[in-house]
Amino acid sequence: MTFILISLIILGVAMLISFIRLLIGPTIWDRILMLNLVSIKVIMFVVLLAIYQNNLLLLDIALTYGIIGFLTMTLLSKFIMTGGREK
């Protein structure tokens, strides 16, 4: 179980670094990309936590979060591509 705990710590640090890159990213697609990476890391974090605590309901939460993250990425980039220009 110690390897799962070390994985949780590494994922937390990686999420923090991705969030720093999200704050300083030059263009808006960089920010969307970093939001995508944070979403994937949140899914992995919740799955590891579900195995660590032996809790079944957290896996359903991870599936729902994956669907919501994919819809967010697709609709946000389509909205930027058609409507709101940056420059």
Partner: protein
């Protein structure tokens, strides 16, 4: 807790650390997107496959298989949509060096 889980989890740590280095190292945006999404997809799939060996309940196994299929389908689609939006809306693909951002 089997030894196979520990080995595959250690491989996934290496991929996560390389992905975080590649996000800060590249100057061009398309190479940054390519490196970040590819490395992160491999890391997430490795981590889910590693957890596949340590559970013994059937309910956990069917949900982990669903998550592996879902991430394997939707993760490249998401990165492709971001790259398509960036290419249509403005940023040109750099051919020579790493000058234009």
């Amino acid at each position: 807790m089997s030894i196979v889980t520990d080995i595959i989890l250690a491989f996934s740590w290496i991929f996560i650390v390389f992905g975080m280095i590649a996000v800060f190292k590249f100057k061009n945006m398309y190479s940054r997107i390519l490196a970040a999404t590819t490395i992160d997809t491999v890391a997430s799939l490795l981590m889910l496959i590693a957890l596949f060996f340590t559970v013994d309940n059937f309910k956990f196994i069917i949900r982990i298989i669903l998550l592996i299929l879902f991430l394997f389908i939707t993760n490249p689609i998401s990165s492709h949509v971001i790259i398509r939006s960036a290419f249509i809306t403005g940023i040109p693909v750099s051919t020579g060096g790493e000058k234009n951002e």
